[in-house]
């Protein structure tokens, strides 16, 4: 048996009390901080889990923040678009009322439209936290020019008013029936040669009913700036003999703004005039007859005359001048920058910023949706870009600006045709804006759902972190109690042992 030496006994008791005290201190620290561990190491293998969970919670919170910011922006964008759309509906209804029910309404179109335009411009220039929402990637650039500048120009730069006027002038000055353009190149044929493909009327195609007449067209060899798509340079009608009564050729004529007119010339016994085209911009049919004469040559002569007369009548119509002005607005609001009439008045050129107000100054990258992107989850990126210059909103601004730029003048008919176009454009755009809103709405829902998902996950994960890291106060308290008792007992035993020495019993 090994005895117990004094120093051994002292060492042992010292060690035991030191151990107990340090355990007690640790437990008291846990009660104070509420946490199990003071370092990552003390969490042991769970350290990795708790760290990963904490990182996930941080990620989720970051995603929630992004999502909420994105949601706010989308909400403001929706509100802006709703306001624009309301303006469009108002414009459509006002134009319809003014024209179909009561011409008295015409003079009020301009001031109302100006108010709507101003509102729409303000909406499209909306900022959230200093960021323009409809400017694409150039979020620091005010996307849409002031309504006043759009209408009246700024300094030397022309506004819509002047661009429309110049365009209308150029269209009205271009006569497709001018000398040398509609001819009988041979005795039994008719030819229409369009010398100015950009302005005035244009021919998009032609067909015949068979029989003696054959209509062909030749596409434009060159395509000058601003030429309507599919414009034909030459229309040829050849006659193989006298056409039978009822044989016809149909020519697809385009007004300057692209409104389609199907002009049908039918072989008959006399030349009749065409009716004036309707004022609106929809496709419409016009017809006339021509004297089929006695042979191919005489039929060709009267056909040439009938064609010339019919085209001249269309050119002189109110619909034509309305369409010309409307096309001026199309030029001004063209995707890719405004077009203006060149110095000679015979063609269109891209207008520089010093020549003409550019109504949209933002980003013009073809990827419109991708201009605004939000990373709302790991690997989850939502595109929610809507730009002021995308077709739907461009049309909206255009239709409002058109009406705001023009008051009813002397040419009431022409104005009516013009206003009708603005109204039609507004009416057609309402639903397209709704579509954009719908698409954005889907993204809004997605973002809202994602936020909810992240919130749920963050809550769960935070709880789990707490489970791993937090000390169970009841358990710790119990442990402290135990340690205290142990320590007290040790002290008591130490005291007893001190007394338990032979020395005390020696006399």
């Amino acid at each position: 048996m090994t005895g117990i030496s004094l120093i051994g006994q002292h060492n042992f008791l010292r060690q035991v009390t030191a151990d107990l005290s340090s355990q007690l201190q640790r437990a008291q620290g846990q009660i104070a901080s509420g946490k199990r561990a003071e370092t990552h190491g003390e969490l042991g293998l769970q350290s990795k889990i708790s760290q990963a969970l904490r990182a996930d919670v941080a990620d989720a919170e970051s995603f929630i923040q992004t999502g909420e910011m994105t949601a706010t922006r989308m909400e403001v964008m929706q509100a802006s678009m709703t306001a624009v759309q309301d303006g469009l509906v108002g414009q459509r209804d006002q134009v319809n009322a003014a024209i179909y029910r009561n011409d008295v309404g015409l003079p009020f179109l301009e001031p109302s439209a100006e108010g709507r335009l101003q509102d729409a411009v303000a909406r499209l220039n909306t900022q959230v936290e200093g960021r323009y929402l409809f400017s694409g990637r150039t979020t620091d650039v005010r996307p849409v020019a002031e309504a006043q500048a759009i209408l009246d120009g700024a300094g030397a730069a022309m506004g819509l008013d002047q661009v429309m006027a110049e365009r209308a002038d150029a269209d009205l000055a271009t006569d497709i029936t001018a000398a040398g353009q509609i001819t009988n190149p041979t005795a039994d044929s008719v030819r229409l040669q369009d010398d100015n493909l950009v302005f005035g009327l244009s021919v998009a195609g032609a067909r015949d009913s068979g029989g003696a007449m054959t209509a062909t067209t030749t596409p434009a060899a060159t395509s000058p700036t601003g030429m309507p798509a599919g414009a034909q340079e030459q229309l040829d009608i050849s006659l193989s003999g006298q056409p039978a009564a009822g044989d016809s050729v149909t020519v697809d004529v385009r007004l300057p703004d692209g409104s389609a007119i199907e002009l049908t010339l039918t072989a008959g016994n006399t030349n009749t005039a065409v009716a004036d085209p309707e004022l609106g911009g929809g496709a419409q049919q016009l017809s006339a007859t021509f004297d089929r004469g006695v042979d191919a040559a005489s039929a060709a002569t009267s056909l040439r005359q009938a064609l010339s007369d019919a085209l001249a009548a269309i050119q002189d119509s109110a619909a034509f001048s309305g369409a010309a002005e409307a096309q001026g607005a199309n030029d001004f609001f063209r995707d890719g920058g405004p077009l203006i009439v060149d110095g000679a008045g015979t063609g269109l050129v891209a207008g520089t910023e010093s020549e003409v107000v550019h109504w949209y100054r933002g980003d013009s990258d073809p990827d419109v949706g991708g201009a605004q992107r939000a990373r709302i989850g790991a690997g989850q990126v939502v595109d929610y870009g809507v730009r002021a210059d995308q077709a739907e909103l461009r049309e909206s601004v255009k239709s409002m600006a058109m009406l705001a730029a023009r008051g009813v003048g002397d040419d009431v008919e022409g104005y009516r045709a013009f206003a009708l176009r603005a109204g039609e454009s507004a009416g057609a755009t309402v639903d397209r804006v709704t579509e954009v809103q719908g698409r954005l709405g889907v993204k809004e829902q997605l973002v809202a759902d994602t936020i909810q998902r992240h919130e749920g996950a963050a809550n769960l994960m935070s709880q789990r972190v707490a489970e791993i890291e937090e000390a169970d106060p009841y358990e710790v308290a119990t442990r402290i109690q135990e340690l205290r008792q142990q320590l007290e007992s040790t002290y008591a035993i130490t005291g007893r042992l001190q007394n338990l020495s032979l020395v005390n019993f020696m006399t």
């Binding site: 030496s5 051994g8 060492n11 990552h40 200093g130 790991a378």
Partner: protein, 620 residues
Amino acid sequence: MLFTALNNAFSGLSAAQQSIDVVSRNVANASTPGYTRKTLPVDNAVLGGEGRGVWTDAVRRDVDQRMMQQLRTDLSASQQTGVVADYLGRVDEMFGRPQDENSIASQVTRFTEAFQELTTNPESASVREGVISAAGETARKLNDLSTQIQDMRAEAESGIAASVDKVNHALGQIAELNEDISQRQAQGRSTADLEDKRDQHLEAVAEEIDIRVIDGGEGRSLVFTPDGSSLVGRGGARPLNFDQRFEINANTEWSRDGTQRQVGTITLGQDGNAVDLIGSGSLTGGRMAGLVELRDELLPQAQRQLDELAHQMATRLSEHTVRADAPTTTSREIDIAGRIQSDGDQIEVTFTNGSVQNRFTFIASSEPGGPASNDLTARANDTVFTFQRGASDAATAANLAAQINAAVAGSATTAGSTLTVQDSGGSAIQAVDARFTLTDTQSGNPDRLGLPVFADMKAGQVDYTGSVDGQGQKQGFAARIALNADLIANPERLVLTTGTTATGDSARPLELTRRLAEAPTTFSPATGIGGSGRPQTTTLGGFAREIVSFQGNQAQSASSRAEDRAAVARAIEDRVANQNGVNIDEEMNRLMEMEKVYAANAKLMGLVDQMFDTLFAIKR
């Protein structure tokens, strides 16, 4: 006969006195550490074949040497594990309390979040500043951690020096005591107290290094290292030498080669036949072994982990990868101009041979190319070569082609700076990728979204391209990583890849966030995290968390190992103390016994005196 009785009684009296003297010394030293209980050996004194009272020998101590050796071995192990646990505990503490989220992993998360915020507000100057400051904070955190680790290495270095001093002092004392003991023993005098002293010095040595002690005869204790190098011989002590270095940083390492070595090493013996105890692996226990392990293995490993994180973070953000075109199904073509610009830029080539995929990585270098260590890339199962960057792109391409041909003969050709790799022999070309570092904050190309957010503060700012020349740019990068000064001057370049990029373009922030938060990255197994066959592939944040957990677990297991060893050492210490220490009761018992003996002897002497008196009275 009476005289004999008187002498006997007197010798008993004297022995009792000496015993009481020993008892009193024992009691007085009962709580002196290292003091062992002394005994006075007494024997029947025999003179001419007849008992002549009691004979006392020199005071002795009764110590079990086997147990003392066990104690020393356990002390060595306890000190070794203790110092390791202490240092590693400090590494664990560097990452802070879990709930405070101030570990490097939390910092990487905050950096990622700052970028995430930039994706929604690319045009915001304050958000850009937020990213800049988070990036700077991340770099500083890595610098701080590196500094702390290197400070600890420096501390270990001076700890080794102190330890060597302590050992040398103790060895000197042991040698001296050996001589004293041997002399006193020859004179038949007590050596017990000197032996106690010597044991204390041996313990002191054992705390620092693991030793073996053998009895060298004539009272001498000879001290050896576990592999048999003598520390204290018959001729005296052989001191340890340590050439302490005072500049310790991430790039100073121990090496077997003296010319390469930049930290101190421990040698034994003189110049010509000096033995390097670190190189020979003789340090198997004690504080010294723990400190050496910390300085050369454990702390450098922590540094390597930080370096890897810094390296991957800088590289991930700044790199750009271009895949070679495939003009035909059997060839790949890539123009390396503008793609191999810096040391460290890489060309990855994959061939298949039957169903076996052979992956090669060619790393641009300033030095002549050739086969290189496969540890240079974290990519698993690739064969690594370096190639020298030439004076022109065409020369570089030619050097690259030469190395590709060294890997797969006849597969590569060049025309100017254009490299063509094609099928050769059984090897069919699968892909050629150029992976290179963008060094300009404005890449000038909207498709090149990478951004050198970080730079290397070597001596002034240099680009971090992951060069593998020399020690490699990665080593110690965590200590030098800094925010690119170009970005501090032009924070808008966090968004703008070209001079004409729209200010609200989120393409770059989105890509960089993806790289930080989502892109899986393969981390070098040299960090001790992940194996070489299947290296750890995770996100940057994930790896940072791995580091924190790794260090935490390592500290925790070191601590529990140290506790175990300490408990073992304590147990044996208790046993030694109990066996060799003083038990007061026992001593009191002895005291009483001696009192009785003394009294009896005194009484006896009194009786003899009376007997003499009686005798003398008869004569009268």
